[in-house]
Amino acid sequence: MRLTSLLTTLARRGRILLALGGLALLTGCNLDFWTMKGHQSTIAVDGPVAKSQLGVFLVTCWVTLVIFIIVGSVLAYATYKFRARSEADEQAVPPEQGHGNPLIELGLIGASVLALVIIAVPTLKSITYTADVPAEEKANAYEVNAYGYQWWFKFEYPAEQITGAGQLVSANELVIPAGRPVHINLRGMDVIHSFWVPKLAGKVDMIPNRGNFLWLKADAPGYFWGQCAEYCGDSHAVMRFRVIALGPKDFNNWLNAQTAPAREAAKVAATDQPKAQFAAYRTDWKRNEQGWSPQFELNPFESWKAHQEPDAKHEDAALIAKGRALFQSKTCFSCHVIRGHMVGGSGAYPDLTHVGARTTIAAGLLENTPEQLARWISHPDVVKPGNKMYVNGYLANNIKLTPDDVSALVAYLSSLK
């Protein structure tokens, strides 16, 4: 009995302190948890659509918090005030057998309705605002098409027509003009996916046979994380992408670079021979091991810019040429387009014409470094369970890559800035 009362006292008095203390201890060293300013934060946002959605969330948050405090206080008070304090109390004559009070009940219903109106008004406003590009900005809007495949994203730029090759196509990294509304047409090409760049806009699903769209705007140039938000099979968790917003000049430069055919490797002077880096690839990657470097994290946007510049000084033209030949002989070209280098490929697979200029590979999963590229093409099945390149490519065509093949392919792909 003594143990019982001790425990209940402890539980009553200490539980909140204990819980809070435990949380504080665990999180003390790392404020990320509380501030919620991660790469996919819906709180620290960078565009008007996400801001509008955040605004609605904050209204609902404050209204419900106030109600919670009021109702919770009454509940806590009632529990404390009216609890039986002793055996005798429990045996006492039962309290008055009251059945309720209609006036109080109707009053509370009225109050709840009022509270909901406070939430409903900004909700309706935001529904209209976030639905489509506002009329006054329509003329300035930039249009792109986004397609979801198991497990990567394809982006088309209908405004950028390339002679003889149709519109500009890219994969997994969407580059948009900053400060301009962007209207994105969304379509799922196999199962349902969802397009979500939390810092710019809430998600809209990419559904087969259904023409969805969303709009977003990046207030300033920047580098943003996105991820598929609808469960779409084995590798749903690693179906990611990036959005890069650029100022007008940078955006134009980027378009010019992208609409050009694939880059030819530089003829390198004998004095500037390549670094002997390819021999040192790690091969002991664990499943799910992180594929980005801390340096990249320091300034992803700068990192993206650096990726646009060819490292002409250190290119090994012979190795690149070997990689280019392998890309054909290993049948890679039958799926992947490398515009200007070889004829082949299809729109249903990632376009690799400028893959070297992307910061990530394997749909936003790995940083685009030679080492990660080697990891990816050596064991695509381990990096991305169930992926089609492995099943329909490697397995179906019985493709085996030696370490030398991998080095050559990596050199070739990395040169495609």
Binding site: H39, T42, T64, T123, K203, D205, Y231
Partner: protein
């Protein structure tokens, strides 16, 4: 009133068949395996429902722990991607269809007939059929664990076209389809049974507005089941046809519409949410008045708000689809409709607080769970209001914020109430009561573990962590939240383990509880013995007030007189009529099980064998008749003449 108090079967024995043939042999075993397999007693069936539900609750819990262990650190490799996807699919499906729903059904079965003063449900053999078909569905759903195809892995919502043959070529998805189909049959049959029981078998004087709130919630839940399950039945038939016969309901290349699945699924799925929570609200509405020692505050409004929630539950399904591009008008309409549900839900919370106000609160274990329910359900309700604002939901949909929300309403809500209900009715069901110390200890460990697990998920979701992901990178700001959540899950698991240990110990060796151990208010506590005798009431009670048993206790002389008169009348009509047991519901369910396997493997012979069994079971069941035997207990429930059976 006099007339309705009489047995419904008076005089029947004169027409009993002379000598039953082999096919109409009626099992009579009262103990042993056969007694359980052929039972038609609502209490035994309720007990079986509860046992299966708790078993699957533990299975689903283990799946949840594996999910949390995989996510304890970024880039973890405990489970592979397909294993993880299987875990969350089975965790969701198991908890909803095999744990919470049947646990609710266990209480409907055991408690509801007692609350309305009935001796059984309206269709005892249909009740047995529901139970065994539920078991068959549970077997189908889980059989993949033991077969090479593996268990289902297309998530509990099974969005087309991920469930199509193209993207899910193995039989895993067929297990899911046929398993849910059988569970639907079981649920609809049970729900019809409860509706007929509540409408027809109420004791004299038990008007609709005197029904205990738990019975009201049983009635509303049953209506939700019969109205919502047909939608998923159709959807499942369509996806089954797509897979087995090459139809094109969801087949995109031939013009099918995947969005159709979502509409059909959520027209079922949203009422399903209320199917899970309304029984819990009913249980809490029973526990609070008992331990506050005063009637429920605003009974008519609590009942009406329950009905409104049930009705509005059919008007808001598309709030699960705010991100599917429905257009502004539909989005706004479903957004506002969803907000209106907050009103009847809020009303319930106000009335529960009103019930506490001015009471003498006895802080027993069931009361702790009921109070925990109110707090947790408030938090879950408020995050629900946040989702109802469609623009906010565009960020929260399919993120961990949603995971936090529905676990607050399903664990903090449904499970807390169901666990509290077990403690509350344990003395009635088994004649023993759980030690207060251990009961409260398990409550606090569960309470703390639950909050440590799920509160951080709000932060994770707002920080952009999507659900149903088997791994995440360490640079997203999700590490701490996931670590805390997993530690919380282990605490929660410990709490559940304590809870189960305590319940099992109490069942075997617990302190004996007297009759009406909580000084309760409703009729189930007026049965002559704990556990109740097979005939429940020696004399069908006459109801004079809303809290019928409370009234009886405070008007003892009047009630005693009345009971004596009714007892005489009933004895004059040949005693208490009890239905015979029957084997045929089980035969029919086994037929359904075999037939489901035939459908899964597209094997006509097996399907025909199953169909034959099902047909034979139902045919003989309908021919064997509703005969029974009679018991003659005295007013206090002592068996006056044990041999007097017809």
């Amino acid at each position: 009133m006099e007339a309705t108090a009489k047995s419904h079967f008076t005089g029947k024995e004169e027409h009993a068949p002379a000598k039953p043939s082999f096919a109409f042999w009626r099992p009579t075993a009262k103990t042993g395996l056969m007694s359980w397999l052929t039972t038609v007693d609502h209490k035994k069936i309720g007990f079986l429902y509860g046992s299966f539900a708790l078993f699957f609750f533990l299975v689903g819990g283990c799946e949840a722990l594996l999910i949390r262990l995989q996510l304890i650190v970024p880039n973890n490799t405990l489970l592979t991607a397909p294993q993880y996807n299987t875990m969350f699919t089975m965790h969701g499906t198991t908890m909803i269809f095999l744990a919470v729903m049947p646990l609710g059904a266990a209480f409907f079965n055991f408690i509801m007939p007692l609350q309305i003063g009935a001796r059984d449900v309206a269709f005892p053999r249909l009740n047995a059929f529901s139970l065994w078909t539920f078991v068959a569905g549970a077997i189908i759903l889980n059989v993949g664990w033991f077969l090479p195809d593996g268990p289902p892995d297309a998530s509990w919502v099974g969005y087309a076209p991920l469930t199509s043959k193209l993207y899910n070529p193995t039989h895993a998805t067929d297990f899911w389809i046929l398993g849910l189909q059988l569970l639907g049959v079981a649920s609809i049959a049970a729900a019809l049974n409860f509706i007929v029981t509540i409408i027809n078998l109420r004791a004299p004087g038990m008007t609709m507005m005197r029904l205990p709130v738990f019975t009201w919630m049983t009635l509303i839940t049953s209506f939700l089941i019969i109205l919502s399950f047909p939608a998923i039945t159709i959807a499942l038939v369509e996806v089954m046809f797509d897979r087995q016969f090459g139809t094109n309901f969801f087949e995109v290349s031939n013009g099918g519409m995947p969005i159709l699945w979502q509409h059909l699924f959520w027209i079922f799925g949203h009422p399903e949410v209320y199917i899970l929570i309304l029984p819990a609200m009913g249980i809490v509405s029973e526990i609070l008045p008992t331990f506050a020692r005063k009637p429920l505050f605003g009974y008519p409004i609590v009942v009406f708000s329950g009905a409104s929630i049930g009705f509005l539950g059919f008007t808001v399904w598309s709030h699960h689809m705010f991100t599917t591009g429905m257009g502004t008008v539909a989005t706004a309409a479903f957004s506002l409709a969803t907000m209106t549900i907050a009103v009847p839900t809020g009303v319930k919370i106000f009335n529960w607080i009103g019930t506490l106000w001015g009471g003498h609160l006895k802080m027993r274990t069931p009361m702790m769970f009921a109070l925990g329910f109110i707090w947790m359900f408030m938090i879950g309700g408020f995050s629900g209001v946040m989702h109802s604002a469609a623009p906010a939901d565009a960020q929260q949909q399919d993120s961990y914020f949603v995971v936090a929300h529905f676990h607050y309403v399903l664990i903090g809500g449904s499970i807390f109430a169901l666990l509290g209900g077990i403690h509350y009715w344990f003395p009635l069901m088994f004649g023993r009561r759980v030690s207060e110390f251990w009961g409260k200890l398990s409550f606090w460990v569960i309470f703390v573990g639950f909050n440590v697990t799920f509160f951080p998920m709000h932060f994770l979701g707002l920080n952009g962590m999507p659900r149903r992901t088997f791994t995440y990178d360490g640079n997203m700001g999700w590490n701490v939240g996931n670590m805390i959540a997993t530690i919380g899950a282990l605490i929660l698991g410990t709490g559940i383990a304590i809870y189960f240990a305590v319940v099992i110990y109490t069942y075997l060796k617990g302190e004996k509880a007297g009759r009406d151990t909580w000084d309760a208010r409703t009729l189930e506590w007026s049965v002559p013995t704990n556990p109740p005798p097979e005939y429940n009431f020696a004399v069908i009670p006459t109801v004079h007030a809303r809290d019928a048993f409370w009234y009886e206790k405070h008007h003892q002389a009047e009630i005693a007189q009345e009971k004596a008169a009714h007892h005489q009348a009933e004895a004059a009509h040949g005693g208490i009529h009890m239905p015979f047991q029957s084997i045929y519901p089980l035969v029919a369910s086994i037929g359904a099980l075999i037939g489901a396997f035939g459908a899964i493997y597209h094997n006509l012979i097996v399907a025909l064998i199953g169909g034959t069994f099902l047909f034979i079971g139902v045919y003989l069941w309908s021919l064997e008749g509703a005969e029974g035997y009679h018991l003659h207990p005295d007013e206090e429930g002592h068996d006056a003449d044990p041999a007097a059976k017809h």
